[in-house]
Amino acid sequence: MGFIALTTERREAERARRPPVLLVVLGVLGLAVFAVPFIGLLSRVPWTDLPELLSSDLVTDALRLSMVTSLTATLVAVLIGVPLAWILARLEFPGRSLVRGLVTLPLVLPPVVGGAALLFALGRRGLIGEPLNQATGLLLPFSTSGVVLANTFVAMPFLVITVEGALRNLDRRYEGAASSLGAGQWTVLRRITLPMIGPSLVAGLVLTWARALGEFGATITFAGNLQGRTQTLPLAVFVALESDRDVAVALSLVMVVVSLAVLVALRERWWKAL
């Protein structure tokens, strides 16, 4: 898109400077890495059967569950991830870099390992899961809450990292100015800090949601796979891929359309920080 804009709107100003050929070639190659698999997917879409495939219980259940769990996970990430980002950005304490490493761990860890780790900690026989289950009867594996937890585990780092970076870059003198005007710490946070890092916050939210929506490994390992309860779109795609490829492709198409719609809409309006 940038290239097109260059050749039309700004042609006058840019006429003297042709973009370096190598850069464009490499950039187009980069685009191809994204575009080619999508084209492959689109080439297998069973267009005529699509309406019937999409209206099946399997698809609507998975879509609904994916929306509910990914949005809930994003909300949870805001409630606990933003405070964590604040702690990392603002408080000096021993082992802070270790904590920061821990936060990024889910980004490098294979999600399946993350799911197994969640099981060891919060499963029925888990370190915390067992006493928790005995005390309250609460059981996270094989439940929708378990899906939310797995999504949060895998996706929250995006929010924490983005927000922490924004907090570090924020000119703290604004907060000082606000408190000199009589604003208490919560008011400063609510009316100055958060609005000022707004664009980064939104970007972090979008990344978190997108990652949660696509989550597979940790979910199937920790929460299992049951239609209507724990089978999100990615799980449904994975299972269908081995039985009915048409269903798998239709499900993938749903994921692509939903996420593209949201990302493009947000990008236009909000998501300018990234």
């Binding site: 299992g224 299972v239 081995e242």
Partner: protein, 261 residues
């Protein structure tokens, strides 16, 4: 992921092969057969341990051949083959996946049943939930897991439950038998249906409860050389080895049944 793993293990085995060839070059040239190269065998996950041993035995008999095992759910392996992954041998845990591959014209000659396997109820060691039979699978209070419907162990498990007239209260449909077994092993599930061979492979962390013969389902494992096999001679030799007495002895050692049992 499987392809990447395969590629890297291929490179690794090529290196190993080169090292071995250099150090024992004289022995290699005087080997019993003159088969050369790699054989890529895609085998059902339930064959993991047995085929591991067969691989070693086969390679011992054919010093010039390197067997590469690609293990996974039969249905996933089928998809790989149908999408054109270069594979020499396919060993499925059910006939339907093999049939689909054959229908697509990807099987060279005829697929042959090489072993059968029986289902068993798998429970965590100690059987805390007190599961006794298929009837317990209807209990809402128990955490019940099956293989996904389209995976052979899931298909057969459902057949067995239907035969016993039980509507299971399923909590999860695991993508393959190993994933199911892992969750039973961890005690996260109270019971599931797997193969006898799988329970045996856990060496005590999972207890098996027999399913009465009238409800049980005999899973037939077919094997075939594929039409697009890059190394058809070695592939045929591998299949022959699996069907031989030596191969069959290895398989029965892991709980599989010979065809003539």
């Amino acid at each position: 992921m499987t392809k990447a793993t395969t590629a890297s293990s291929r490179i690794l085995s090529l290196i190993l092969l080169a090292v071995v060839a250099c150090s024992v070059g004289v022995d290699a040239s005087t080997s019993a057969t003159d088969l050369q190269g790699e054989v890529l065998v895609s085998a059902a996950a339930s064959l993991t341990d047995a085929f591991g041993e067969i691989e070693s035995a086969f390679e011992e008999a054919n010093a010039g051949v390197e067997v590469i095992l690609n293990l996974g759910a039969s249905s996933a392996l089928r998809e790989q083959i149908l999408e054109g992954a270069p594979t020499d041998v396919f060993a499925s845990a059910d006939t339907s996946n093999m049939d689909q591959v054959a229908e697509a014209g990807e099987v060279a000659g005829q697929a042959e049943i090489f072993v059968t396997n029986l289902l068993q109820i798998a429970v965590p060691a100690g059987n805390e939930a007190g599961v006794t039979g298929l009837d317990d699978f209807a209990h809402e209070d128990l955490l019940i897991g099956l293989c996904a419907e389209d995976v052979p162990c899931g298909e057969f498990g459902r057949q067995a439950l239907a035969g016993a007239g039980v509507t299971p209260a399923i909590d999860t449909n695991e993508p393959d038998v190993r994933a199911l077994l892992t969750k039973i092993e961890a005690g996260e599930l109270d019971a599931g249906i797997t193969y006898v061979t799988d329970v045996l492979s856990t060496e005590g962390t999972v207890d098996g409860i027999d399913i009465p013969a009238e409800d049980n389902v005999v899973a037939e494992y077919p094997i075939a050389v594929l039409a697009g096999a890059p190394n058809p001679d070695a592939a045929a030799s591998f299949v022959e080895f699996v069907l031989s007495d030596q191969g069959q002895a290895i398989l029965t050692g892991y709980g599989f049944h010979r065809l003539d049992d």
